[in-house]
Amino acid sequence: MPLDAPLPDVDLRADYWSLRFVEEQASQYAVRHNVPLPLAVTTDRGVMASVHADGGYGYAATGDTSAQGVRAALQRAAARARVTAHTGLIDSRRLPRPAARGEYASPALAVAGPTPREWYDLLAAECAAATRDPRIVDSEAGVEVRTATHRLVTSTGGDVVQRYRFLLPRLTVTAHAGGVTQSRSLDGFRGICQQGGAEILARFGFVGAGTRIAAEAIELLTAPECPRGSMDVLLMPDQMILQIHESIGHPLELDRILGDERNFAGTSFVTLDMFGSYRYGSPLLDVSFDPTRGEELATYAFDDEGTPAEKAYLIRDGILVRPLGGATSQMRARLPGVAASRADSWNRPPIDRMANLNLEPKDASLADLVAGIDRGVLMETNRSWSIDDSRNKFQFGCERARVIEHGVIRHVVKNPNYRGVSASFWRSLARVGDATTVQVLGTPHCGKGEPSQIIRVGHASPACVFAGVDVFGGES
């Protein structure tokens, strides 16, 4: 496979072509309720050929990365480009023809990780610590170790090779007693996901967390319901990332705004004329597309169309500045964007995606944030998310909350939920935490596209306070 080898000679009549090779290998280790799950390894390898010809655009993907397979894929893509040229939405002759050359590597890529036996021992210890109380009816400690090499070669001389290692630990427990079930996790279901190696575990206090989250789940069994009413909400980073993702990230995707996703993932309440003037949030709101944090999940040097990735503000001082759109969408919309054209593997074409979408910290410590709340709740760890297809009316739920009264954290409450409307919610952003409150989290499960794609997205956020939020609890 020509991931690090010369390409075969290509003889193709076309305006432009590219070959995007992907090879990823993942190892899944897990212990569920004190029983090790069998090791599961995945090796995914293939190539997508994309061709611009006669004004059309076509792609062809195959697991056959031999010279013969690559040439055949290019021919299939070219044929598809030609037969659909007369019905195409975009004249491919107007599309950019990048010639990027460069490399990228994840932090500590060459540092060896634990052996399978060491992983299982570590996970078994956390699982055991989480299951000492008989009210814990389920528990799981796991980790996915994934390495990836992506290479993009273009007919214009471009050649980009990017090598990654991702670590995705997870720790969850479920407690049940008296007809009540409550679950806790360490920063959400796969909220912990970064580039790097086993050093990531220490950043999140993974070792020893089993005991803590089990105790918290048991505490929730007898906790009162979250109070109902309009009040201040302090969202911790493991809920902020969901709030950012759903009500800033998705609505700013330029292909949504251009209508591509209206049949599936949805449209956006944001329209093209809003960029440069629309007040998205309070003046405290600064949101960046930031590929510069090495440990963050979606850091890279080039996107899958070959556009160099650079930090850019999407929202500055609360004003909407630019969308999440790659080179193709930028051409369509005549707007500047970011290097956000991404595919989740070799068998899916690039579309506009989030990458690292971060909310910039300000100057309030966590103690300051709490002290400023007269009546409210602190919510942590997302467990439920729902938002309309324009990304406006939302309802989110968390695993755990604590009541705040007169600037002091009081008791724990269960089943915290809140709802709002994106277009007004961010304007109620009242305080933003400082760098000490920031966590670098993300999700490996951002879904979108036809054909559908699940992609890795990073989010870094401080804790934040929102004023006058509609808060409520569970059914009981």
């Binding site: 056959d64 031999s66 399978p116 729902s386 309309d388 009316k393 739920g397 009981s476």
Partner: protein, 441 residues
């Protein structure tokens, strides 16, 4: 050689490389798919994907591990790749713990199922779709071609499944978020059927074009079309029918096993014999034709994977690890679908729901949005489209105390998911009339 022959050759290679005391299972998935994406009545992206994957599990005693591999389609190269993977698994097995929950099928249950189909060349499908939607703001997605699944093991079991299908999902937009969503999916493409469905969608688009109405939060009488119920059951497929989720009290149906009940007219069945999915799962267990899940409002069973069976002393019934239905049926009732709006009288006719999630899972409480064609109806007649609304209500009210009727007719809907690969699931659902549904935003 056919793809089925390729699969057999790979299985033979694995069997030939087996060492003393080793057992194996092999699961195979492949597809040759044409994808076409549309926007604004034009082609946005078009291409094809050829992919084959094989999951090899090597077992020695109670130790086992799996390796899932992309294949090239060249048998000689793929045999070499699979043999390397087998050697890697063999090397790691001694480092792994014995698996107390390993369960493999007793006996050999081989099968072969071919579901023939006829799908057009992608460019012909494009021309037909765009001609039928001439002048309309069509946005949508077409996926078509053959799909293969296979299983084999060291005991000599061999299962093969092939289906050739197409699935066109599209929306006709009036503007902003006002649209009519439609689908045409099956095995044998018929341009006349496409034309008829597009014409129906055009006619409904005229209703969507009326001035929309904004409803205040509150409780409204509602009719949920099968397309709306599909979203509701998709959420339930996440975990609600899982044997393990029920055993660990994490299922949204947990209260059913603690005495609560739905309306007696509610019967859910995993209906493999009436669905599209293969009748075998990835460990080689064969699926019963029907698995009752809820019968007459009472919990009647669950989907049990081999692992869950071993863990909780249950009987495995063909479920994969996720224990999600792949051929779910909600039995119909006695309301003729043609009379649904008359029976609704005044309230909401909901064509589609969107983005459902649990607001209190153990209590079966669900929130979600209306989407696409949702109308305000008065005296059985459509008055106006309705701006999107958020509902937040429990299964026990929707399928229980507030259930007024289920339609007599049910609709088979092929799963359109294409995450990683084309899905082979289906649901068959009626429409549902409820006395009230709680809307909150």
């Amino acid at each position: 050689m056919s793809i089925e022959d390729d699969f057999s050759a790979l299985v033979a290679a694995v069997a030939g490389a087996r060492a003393a005391g080793e057992r194996f299972t092999v699961a195979f998935a492949a597809e040759d798919t044409d994808f076409v994406r549309f926007n604004r009545g034009r082609v946005r992206q078009s291409g094809s994907v050829v992919q084959r994957t094989l999951t090899l599990r090597l077992i020695h005693g109670a130790r086992h591990a799996t390796h899932t591999l992309s294949l090239t389609g060249d048998v000689a190269r793929d045999v070499a790749t699979v043999r390397t993977a087998m050697a890697d698994l063999r090397a790691v097995l001694p480092d792994l713990a014995e698996d107390a929950l390993l369960l493999l099928p007793d006996g050999v249950r081989s099968s072969r199922e071919v579901r023939d189909g006829a799908v057009p060349a992608a460019e012909d499908a494009v021309d037909a779709i765009l001609a039928a939607a001439d002048g309309l703001d069509l946005v949508g997605f077409y996926a078509a071609g053959p799909v293969w699944r296979g299983f084999a093991n060291s005991e000599g079991q061999h299962n093969a499944y092939t289906a050739t299908t197409f699935n066109l999902q599209w929306s006709l937009y009036h503007g902003a978020d006002k649209a009519v969503r439609s689908a045409y999916a099956g095995f044998h493409w018929d341009a006349a059927q496409l034309g008829a469905r597009m014409q129906q969608a055009r006619e409904r688009l005229a209703l969507v074009a009326r001035a929309p109405r904004t409803l205040a939060p509150g409780r409204y009488r509602a009719y949920l079309a099968p397309g709306a119920l599909e979203e509701l059951t998709a959420l339930l497929c996440w975990d609600a029918f899982s044997g393990r989720a029920l055993q660990t009290h994490q299922s949204a149906l947990d209260r059913l096993q603690e005495g609560a009940a739905f309306d007696p007219r509610v019967t859910f069945v995993e209906d493999t014999q009436g669905g599209v999915a293969p009748a075998f799962q990835n460990d080689g267990f064969v699926r019963p034709p029907r698995v009752p899940l809820v019968e007459h409002g009472r919990l009647a069973g669950s989907l049990v994977s081999p692992r869950t069976a071993r863990e909780f002393g249950l009987v495995a019934n063909g479920a994969n690890d996720a224990e999600s239905p792949e051929s779910l049926v909600l039995e119909g009732g006695d309301l003729p679908a043609a009379d649904a709006l008359t029976a609704l009288d005044t309230g909401l006719a909901i064509g589609n729901l969107w983005y459902l999630n649990y607001s209190d899972r153990p209590a079966g409480r669900i929130t979600g949005m209306t989407r696409f064609a949702t109308f305000w109806v008065e005296h059985g007649r459509v008055v106006a489209p309705v701006n999107v609304l958020r509902f937040d209500d429990t299964l026990y009210r929707m399928l229980g105390s507030n259930l007024e009727a289920l339609t007599r007719e049910t609709e088979l809907m092929l799963e359109s998911s294409t995450y990683g690969a084309r899905a082979l699931g289906s649901v068959r659902l009626p429409g549902m009339l409820v006395k009230e549904l709680a809307f909150t935003l």
